[in-house]
Structure formats: structure tokens, C-alpha cells
């Protein structure tokens, strides 16, 4: 008999035919969802404070317009390969994205998710240089703690030994600089120095692009390097001729209160990738947007950008994303995130003020982060053996709340943290409940720690 169909509210590894991601975990069996609430097989309601667990469902569940758009397009034409043909949804979605992208971004290439978008951005950056005859440019520089995906090429972009180790030495050797967090480098100067040294050591003529999230999600929840860093990066880009690629897989499509988080930075990137909020969980879709100059390099060169996956730009996914954009606009949700976000952060800060282990509550729009520290000095990371991140996730779930905590990393750049990414449609009551449950969760975890 097939496993996983027992009618229980949780599924464990030995009970299922699925190859699960964590073999020791009991996965809640979620049967349906409505608004910002998930319901498991036993009928328990779980408040979703992190977009379906992965910063995806920014419009919540059961949005009739999205379901309708998918149904309608599936009936009309769900798929035709974009190497052979294009479709109205792809054409219209590209035009929509160009209209909301930063000035000078004139082209969009669709993929089916965030890793693919970043993978494509790597190839686009490399292709741009090759098309222009600068074939020596192949290296990418990232912040060590960053996460850009689990595929072979995107995994090479992260500087986290724990993630990379099993696959070494078969990942391409990219360059990493330390993130300029308050702990190590509050001004951004140390990161710039590290960037200079990395560029000089590798040879400036070998650098293809700097790759970064404008506001970090899972890696360093809601953290963004200080303005000085971005300005310094811009100076170095001009001096050395590399590109700046922004990974907006999480932050794109309004998450931080502007269509793209890039809109809030003091530099214009060359490439933007986006994914999660574009399909909002109703379709697997991602996109790479680039400045006209990159397109022009291909246009003046080989006139071919050979990179394709079957489902890239599929009409069904594009139709759903079009409906997402329309919904965001008609309900003025980006504006709501921009206006409501700062207050949400303040509410969360106030609710966590009494906590001894919370060092900082950060936030941009509806992307919030809680950074924990050792209460003995208020600065050091908590002992990883305390498993605070895991305990927060477990305790939250017990209290009917879905959050995303970041595990401490072995390299010493990040300790335990929690990420919140509520749906833009969350009501004030639901946001208040999220804040309350987070505070209760942290309090309970804190109380359970050995003093």
C-alpha cells in the first residue's frame, strides 16, 4: 500500500513514498488554505506569516481572480514552447514588468523559478562580456552569507561552507566578501575593502558581476548593506567594468514596499532576477530583467541567447502572473506594504522589547527579521547547541503560526534568526495576531533555555 495516505495530520519519512527534505521531520499535512490561513488534515488552522513558508504567497490563498485566470488560460492554451512561438500572455507580462522596472530596463526573459532566474542571470552576465570580447570575465563576487539557490551554479555563489561542502570541489570557485552587518562592519567600509582586495587578487579583468540581494531574505532576514557600501560598489563597477546583478527573487513584486527593492538603493543594477511573488504561489514562474545595454550587446554580437527550459514563458504561468500584477495594482497592495510596513516593524519591536535574546528587529515593507544574540553580552551568537532557530519554528507551529527561522552558520557570519513575510493582504487583525504569536513563541522559547 502506498504510504502517506493514512489520514494522519502529519507525515513522517517512514510513512511516505515522497523523498522528503528532512528525514527526521514530521510534516504537517496541509489540505487547503484560505486567505492567510493554512488548514491541516485534522482541521487545525495555521496562520501563515511567511508566504506559504517561502516568501511566496504574497496575495494569500483562494484569490478568485488568480484561480480564474489560470482556469481560463488553461482552457485557451496552457503551453507552447517559447523557442517556437510566443503568446499574448508572455508578450503582455514582459511589457508589464518593463513598465514597473527601473528606468533603462527594457527586456525580460522568463524562467520557472528563482534558482533558474539566478542561473540565467549568471549566464547573461557572462554572455554580455563575451559578446563584447571581454572573455576573461567569469568570476562572480557575492557576500559570503548570501543564498542564491541550490542548483550547481547558484550554490557556487553562496559562501556558506556548510551548504557547499558536500559538493566541493566541483563547484566553480567564486569570490566572497563578508556581509557588512552591525556585528562586524556597520559602516560598510570593511566590506568595500574586502571587495577591493578580492578584485585585485583575482584580477579586475576577470570579474563578471557582483551578485547580491538588495534586502536579504533567508540568509540574513531583512538585512541590507549600508548605503556607503552600495555607493562604493557603484564606484567600483564604473572603475572595473563589471555588472551588478540583484537577486530580487524574494524582494521583487512589492515585498519591500516598492515594485523592486532596487528602487530604494542608491545605484541602478544591470540585471534583476525575480520569482516568488511573481506567481504568488499560483504558478511556478521567474523572470530576469536587464538593462537595454545587455540586450544590445547580444543584438550587436551573436544575436542568440541560447538558454531555455520547457516551461519558460509558458502562457499558463504568464497569465497567472499577469493576474498577480493586476491584483497588486487594483488593490494598491504595494502602497499598502510601503505604508503599513514601518508600523508592523514597530509593533513587532514593541512586542519583543522584553526579550533578552532578541538583539534586533529589522524590516523593509513586509519583510521582517529578528536577530537573536547571547543575552550575556548582547552581541555574541547564541550557542548553536541551544537550537534556538529550530525551537522557534517548532514552538510557533505548536501555536498555529508558520514562520521561517535561519539556522546559525558555521562560518560565523550569522547566528539564529527568524524571517517573517506576511501576505500583503493580511488584515490588521491578522498582523496583530502574527505579532502576538511571534512574541509568545519567543517568550516560550526563551523561558525554556537553560539560564
Amino acid at each position: 500500500m502506498a504510504r502517506g495516505v493514512s489520514g494522519e495530520a502529519v507525515v513522517r519519512a517512514h510513512e511516505t513514498s515522497v523523498f522528503p527534505r528532512e528525514l527526521d521531520k514530521a510534516y504537517p499535512l496541509i489540505e487547503r488554505a484560505e486567505g492567510v490561513w493554512l488548514y491541516d488534515a485534522a482541521g487545525n488552522a495555521i496562520l501563515d506569516a511567511v508566504g506559504g513558508g517561502a516568501m511566496v504567497t504574497s496575495l494569500g490563498y483562494g484569490v478568485r481572480e488568480l484561480v480564474e485566470a489560470a482556469r481560463e488560460q488553461a482552457g485557451r492554451i496552457p503551453f507552447v514552447y517559447n523557442l517556437r512561438a510566443t503568446t499574448p500572455p508572455q508578450e503582455r507580462l514582459a511589457a508589464e514588468l518593463v513598465s514597473i522596472a527601473p528606468e533603462g530596463f527594457g527586456r525580460v526573459h522568463f524562467v520557472t523559478g528563482g534558482s533558474e532566474a539566478n542561473e540565467l542571470a549568471l549566464r547573461l552576465a557572462r554572455s554580455y562580456h563575451v559578446e563584447r570580447g571581454e572573455t576573461s570575465r567569469w568570476r562572480f563576487v557575492t557576500q559570503a552569507q548570501a543564498y542564491h539557490g541550490p542548483t550547481w551554479a547558484t550554490l557556487a555563489l553562496t559562501g556558506r561552507p556548510g551548504l557547499q561542502r558536500p559538493y566541493e570541489p566541483y563547484l566553480s570557485p567564486q569570490l566572497h566578501i563578508p556581509p557588512s552587518t552591525w556585528r562586524f562592519d556597520p559602516t560598510g567600509e570593511a566590506a568595500l575593502e574586502a571587495l577591493d582586495r578580492a578584485i585585485e587578487e583575482a584580477g579586475p579583468e576577470t570579474i563578471a558581476a557582483f551578485f547580491s540581494e538588495p534586502v536579504s531574505a533567508a540568509a540574513l532576514p531583512a538585512y541590507s548593506p549600508p548605503e556607503r557600501f552600495w555607493r562604493g560598489l557603484d564606484e567600483r563597477r564604473r572603475e572595473h567594468g563589471f555588472l551588478v546583478c540583484l537577486d530580487e527573487v524574494v524582494t521583487g513584486m512589492g515585498r519591500t514596499g516598492t515594485w523592486f527593492a532596487a528602487d530604494q538603493l542608491p545605484l541602478v543594477p544591470d540585471v534583476i532576477t525575480t520569482a516568488k511573488g511573481l506567481g504568488a504561489g499560483y504558478a511556478p514562474i521567474g523572470a530576469v530583467l536587464c538593462r537595454d545595454e545587455l540586450y544590445e550587446a547580444v543584438a550587436a554580437g551573436s544575436r542568440s541567447f541560447e538558454h531555455g527550459h520547457t516551461w519558460d514563458g509558458a502562457p499558463l504561468s504568464c497569465a497567472v502572473a499577469l493576474a498577480v500584477v493586476a491584483y497588486l495594482k487594483s488593490h494598491r497592495l504595494v502602497e499598502r506594504v510601503r505604508e503599513r510596513g514601518p508600523r508592523l516593524r514597530e509593533e513587532l519591536q514593541a512586542a519583543l522589547r522584553g526579550s533578552r535574546i532578541v538583539r534586533e528587529v529589522r524590516g523593509r515593507g513586509f519583510l521582517l527579521g529578528i536577530d537573536y544574540a547571547d543575552p550575556s553580552d548582547g552581541t555574541s551568537f547564541l550557542d548553536p547547541a541551544l537550537r534556538v532557530a529550530s525551537r522557534v519554528d517548532e514552538e510557533a507551529l505548536r501555536r498555529g503560526l508558520l514562520v521561517y527561522s535561519t539556522q546559525p552558520t558555521a562560518d560565523g557570519y550569522a547566528g539564529d534568526q527568524t524571517l517573517l513575510a506576511p501576505a500583503f493582504v493580511s488584515s490588521d487583525e491578522e498582523l496583530a495576531l502574527i505579532v502576538k504569536r511571534v512574541a509568545d513563541t519567543v517568550e516560550a522559547v526563551e523561558a525554556s533555555l537553560p539560564s
Partner: protein, 463 residues
């Protein structure tokens, strides 16, 4: 072109060189118009070119002619005798007397328990062999380690593996993609460190950088740390007190092999047979080449400790590396004779005896406006030149180009002094004469350098 039966004239040499010879690390365009110096003979510390012009060779060939140019007769005899006896045989499965004798000789001179010698044909090959051996050593013990840690601006050779280890970006980038996973850490250049930093603080700073780089790379992935006892590129960076003790401790803490690249420093350059002895480095591996034969032959060696050899002494294990010419009998005979001469002439002892005098003589140059720092040991010195002595401000790349290539190199050549103006790091003049040089040569080197550097400063400031 057919081969020439008779010797070429000076003019014919120029023409043939222009048409056929590809010089190493040389901008060939420079010789389209101007004449290529053709060296025809040498004696002691001096060379003579095809036009009869004499030069004091303050670079010992390339940090390599340790016994100077005067022993060709004696070593030539040894080479000829070996040619008659056995011109060639290999060193795999079989061996021959000269490779065995030289291995025993080198093991006797090497520090501590570095008792096992693997012969190669030069420094690059030795470094290549060291990295491969380090990887296989760990694999033989059930560990998968492959990364190498080296220092910034350090030069370790030109073959792909050794090149990847190099800390000089300009040499690496034309050949990418290279062998991956080399981490570069700070070198022991102290001149540009903040004022007031003590030697102890400097050492701690360097060791912290090394350890954090190893942690970042993954402590259980690093196979080897490779360092020159005194780093050549950048200009004779000597280690601060306690540095190598700390490096050794870090390597031990994480199970990493420590390789001392003694391609230059081996065989007397800093007044010991190996600089590892002088600085008490206690490496697991030593790479050696240049001075091993004083460049009379083409031979290098990788010297391994008993501990490194151990896993290879069991069962079916073998170090899967080798080359036809490794331990070539004629090269071994040359190296043996070179060592015999070095011992007989007390060459290593003389370096130690003369070191202070050499340093004192050279340090007169520090009175020059352009001279910022004099550093080194034994017969291995570098003078860093600066734009502003007070601030230690260095020259821009354009200024370096003019100073080193347009002015200093041709003027030193004119004055008959061969030394190296190098700007792989901050610009330095490298002084590394044959180990048979004495006070007369110290004075001559210092005199010419003093004149030319003073002139350089005048020209530079009025540019």
C-alpha cells in the same frame, strides 16, 4: 633553417635571436630595435657579454648560481665522468648510484626528519609535486583534502598547479581557468603596516588572518599551506618573530601539511643549508631547486618528512607521480659536486659571517630620498623604493613603468650591474648575488645602486 656548423658571430647571434629565440617573461617588442644582451662567459660574481662588456651579477643568474660562475671546469669534469659512466637512467622501479647518493646527501642537510627526497627538474615541478603529494598523502589516510593556502604576491612557479598557487594576479589571469581552490593570505610585508604596531602584534595579526582563511575554506578541506621562508616576490619579506611557530601550530591544529618553498632560500642563500633551519619552521615538505646545483644542472627536489612518507610505505600504496628526467644521473652528479664545493669552500658559513657587513653596506642606500626600506637576510636583500619616505607612499603603475623599465633597468645595465627592479608588489630592487661575493662586491653593488637611484630621483622629480 639548417643547423649551423660553425659558431655565430655577434651580429649573427643578434639576427638569429631576433628570428628564432623566444625569451621567457620578456616583452619581445623591446628587442625589435635595441640589441639583446648576449652573455658569453662568467667567473666568480661577474659575467661578460659578446661585446666584452663586464657585469657584476647581483642576481646570481636568477637567485640560483650560488657558487658563482667559477667552477665550470670542476663540475664539468664530474658531469663528463658521469656521462661516460652512465648518461641516463630512470628513477622508477630502478635507481642508480648518483640519485641515491644525492638523496642521502640532501637528507643529511635537510632539517629534522625530512629524510625522503623526490627529484624533479626545477622549482615549478617541485611545487607541483608538493601539492600533488599533499593531496595523495591525505587521501592515503582516508581524508579528502585538496585546497592549498599560499600568500599574496608570492611566486611559486609557472606550471598550471604551481601557477594556481601563485599570489600574483597578473601572472595567473591570462591562463584562467586554473586549478581551483587556492586561498591567498597576507604575507609578512611589514613596511606598510601602521606605525606603532609591535612585532608581536604583527605576528598575531598575520596568524589570525591565516587561521580565519583556513576556517573559511573549511579546515578539513585544506591539504597544504605553502610559504617561502623569506618571500621573494614583493621583496625579501622576512618572517616576524613567532610567525612560523604560529603557522606550524595552526597547521597541526587542523591536520594540514606545511610546505616550505625553498627554491630560492635552499642551499645557503640566507646562511643555512635550508632557511627552515634558520627560522625553525619544521615543515613537512621542502621544495628545492636553484641552489641545489647552483644552476650548473637542471635539478630540483621535493623533500618529505618521515611522517609524510609513512602511508606510502604500506601495501600497494604509491605516490602516483613521476617524470622521465627526475633524478637524472648527470644532474645528480652535478648537484653532488656543487654541494661538495659549497662544503669545501665554506660557502654557507661565509654567508652568515658576511651577512652583517653586507647589510651594513647596503643600508647606506637608505640615506637616499627614494629608498624606503631595506629588508632581507643572508645574501638575499630587497630595497623598496618610495615616492615619499615620510608617508611611505608608493609609485603609481605609470610611474613604476617609467622608473623601472624606462630608467632603472637600462641605466643599471649600462653601469654593468645586474639586479632586478621588480614591481609585482610595491616596487623593489632585488639584490641577491652569488654566495661567493665578498666586501668588494658589496661596495660595488652599493656604489652603482647609489649613483643610479640618486639619478632616478632627480629625473623623477624633474619629470
Amino acid at each position: 633553417m639548417s643547423s649551423t656548423e660553425t659558431r655565430m658571430s655577434a651580429a649573427e647571434l643578434q639576427e638569429a635571436a631576433r628570428d628564432h629565440l623566444w625569451l621567457h617573461f620578456t616583452r619581445m617588442a623591446g628587442y625589435r630595435e635595441s640589441e639583446l644582451p648576449v652573455i658569453v662567459r662568467g667567473d666568480g660574481c661577474y659575467l661578460e657579454d659578446v661585446n666584452g662588456k663586464r657585469y657584476l651579477d647581483a642576481l646570481a643568474g636568477l637567485f640560483s648560481v650560488n657558487i658563482g660562475y667559477g667552477f665550470g671546469e670542476e663540475i664539468g669534469e664530474a658531469a663528463a665522468a658521469q656521462m661516460r659512466e652512465l648518461p641516463f637512467y630512470i628513477n622508477w622501479t630502478y635507481a642508480h648510484p648518483r640519485s641515491i647518493e644525492l638523496a642521502a646527501e640532501v637528507a643529511g642537510l635537510a632539517p629534522g626528519d625530512l629524510n625522503r627526497v623526490f627529484f624533479v627538474s626545477g622549482g615549478s615541478e617541485a611545487v607541483e609535486a608538493a601539492w600533488k603529494l599533499a593531496r595523495q598523502y591525505h587521501a592515503a589516510r582516508g581524508e579528502r583534502r585538496w585546497k592549498a593556502v599560499a600568500r599574496r604576491i608570492a611566486y611559486h612557479g609557472t606550471t598550471m598547479g604551481a601557477l594556481s598557487i601563485n599570489g600574483i594576479a597578473q601572472l595567473r589571469t591570462p591562463f584562467e581557468p586554473l586549478v581551483p581552490d587556492v586561498v591567498h593570505v597576507r604575507n609578512t610585508n611589514r613596511y606598510h603596516r601602521p606605525d606603532g604596531e609591535t612585532e608581536e602584534e604583527f605576528t598575531a595579526f598575520l596568524l589570525e588572518d591565516l587561521e580565519s582563511a583556513i576556517e573559511q575554506a573549511g579546515t578539513d578541506t585544506v591539504a597544504m599551506v605553502i610559504m617561502e621562508p623569506v618571500q621573494n616576490a614583493g621583496g625579501a619579506f622576512t618572517p616576524p618573530a613567532g610567525y612560523f611557530r604560529g603557522v606550524r601550530e595552526i597547521c597541526d591544529r587542523y591536520g594540514i601539511l606545511l610546505c616550505a618553498d625553498e627554491t630560492i632560500t635552499g642551499f645557503g642563500r640566507v646562511g643555512d643549508w635550508f632557511a627552515s633551519t634558520r627560522y625553525d619552521i619544521r615543515p613537512d615538505l621542502i621544495t628545492s631547486a636553484k641552489g641545489l646545483s647552483s644552476s650548473y644542472g637542471v635539478i630540483g627536489a621535493l623533500i618529505a618528512s618521515d611522517r609524510v612518507m609513512e602511508p606510502f610505505l604500506e601495501g600497494t600504496k604509491m605516490y602516483a607521480h613521476g617524470m622521465t628526467f627526475g633524478g637524472h644521473p648527470v644532474q645528480c652528479a652535478v648537484a653532488l659536486k656543487n654541494i661538495e664545493i659549497m662544503k669545501r669552500e665554506r660557502i654557507v658559513e661565509r654567508v652568515r659571517e658576511n651577512e652583517e657587513r653586507f647589510r651594513r653596506t647596503l643600508s647606506q642606500l637608505l640615506e637616499l630620498e627614494i629608498a624606503g626600506d631595506l629588508r632581507g637576510a643572508g645574501y638575499f636583500w630587497a630595497l623598496e623604493i618610495v615616492k615619499d619616505k615620510a608617508t611611505k607612499e608608493t609609485f603609481s603603475p605609470e610611474e613604476c613603468e617609467w622608473l623601472l623599465r624606462d630608467f632603472l633597468s637600462p641605466r643599471l645595465f649600462e653601469r654593468g650591474l645586474i639586479c632586478r627592479a621588480d614591481d609585482r608588489g610595491d616596487p623593489v630592487i632585488q639584490i641577491s648575488p652569488p654566495l661567493v661575493a665578498g666586501p668588494a662586491q658589496f661596495d660595488e653593488i652599493t656604489g652603482i645602486l647609489g649613483d643610479v637611484l640618486a639619478e632616478a630621483w632627480t629625473k623623477f622629480t624633474s619629470r
